[in-house]
Amino acid sequence: MDRRKFLLGSSSTVAAGLLLPRLGVAGAAASGLPDGTIASSALDTLPGKRPLIRRTFRPPNFETPVELFGEAFTPNDAFYVRWHSGVPELALADWRLRVAGPVVQKPREYTHAELLRRFKRHEVAAVNQCSGNRRGLFAPHVPGVQWGYGAMGNAVWGGVRLKDVLEDAGLAPGALEVVANGADAPMLTGPDFVKSLPMWKALDADTLLAFEMNGAPLSTWNGFPARIVAPGWTATYWIKAVVDLTVTDQAFEGFWMKTAYRVPKGMFGASGFESQDTEQNSPITSIKVNTLIVGPAPGATLAAGRHAEVMGIAWDGGSGIRRVEVSLDGGASWREAKLGRELGRYSWRQWRYDFKPKATGPVTVLARAVARDGATQPETLVHNPAGYHHNVVQRADYHVA
């Protein structure tokens, strides 16, 4: 406990803020949020971050304004922040990673230096997306952090393979799940935020114990000094400030696995996490194919008869993006957008679509992505109690003048 100091997002850690202009870019992009969310949110600056949209002070939940998604990789100081309890501030010299459990042959602790020395460095470009991204746009609304579009980001994650660490500690037959715990702790007697991964995902060559994002050490807000990177899976598994890995031969039964982060069985396909499936529901796992129109901001005015360019990003849980389609006639016909460079199958893919609006008046742009596995986005929301997997075909309304 002595090396845990908590940043609570109090007056000492949050700089002066600003009420969101209701008709500003961020406000327009987030239309559909509950009235209370719009009233209580504001642009606000955490130390080391640029102004982000503050949804809550404590624990800190801040999302990235859509206009900051114009780059292939999200700058670290623009990356969203999401915590379930106090933010642990750890000193690298004191930090240890414990690897233990009933099916670990040589339980042990690693220092940061040992991990770097012992294991080969590996990088992966991957979208990190909160399970509840866009929850605030659910109709009808469901309780939880009322995120707009910005509880996600794309980064190059650098570290060591989780597989290498686990195999170094030695896996005995019967290993079923790897349980990851961070240094964050519940405020009262509530359940600690602990998550497990099935062995196949923990041993995947792209699953990391990451120390860096975009070439810089992780910030405290994003999990310093080390976090799990589970590419293609929602960010609930990307445990921040990780200090403990326990390999078990039984399904982990903590609240945040067994009760929370659940979707109705079969609603979104197989979970790939059979040891956590029940008759009624499954853990949320793989990110669903999705698109975001980044610019121009919805509500912008386009010039009639002039060249206009809509740009955005598309991603899925790791099959990669096959194509992005845009419709200007309400979905009657679709045309292919031009895809940007492939940056890795877990990365998002930039796209742009050029057109010349002719008639003055309103124009609506619809965008949808098709993944390499053939999956595409639904036209109507797949409503579920916890507000996960919002990937409805997005529409952006513009005015042509």
Binding site: A16, L19, P34, G36, S40, F57, Q146, T189
Partner: protein, 102 residues
Amino acid sequence: MSRNVRVPVTLALLAVCGAAQADESSITLAPGEGLERVQSYCAICHSLDYIVMNSPFQDRAAWEKTVSKMVKVMGAPITAEDTTQIVGYLDRHYGKGAQPAP
């Protein structure tokens, strides 16, 4: 173009509002019976913007479920009597159809 002209507007607002307190004490909840209990219990674990953010779409049963989860799962030390007061306050001021506090 329209995006470019918004930048100076945002900066101007920053300059005007920059002096305002942006810590969680800036959160104001609607006055009314039960407010003190909400402030003393709910804020043990989280800032009170969680309440405003989650409004006005939860009916009384939904607020009851939320408060019950805080007590039974998260360990909030709230008595049954105080729970009733808190749920009543949340329903009256942040329930379905309520107007958000100014």
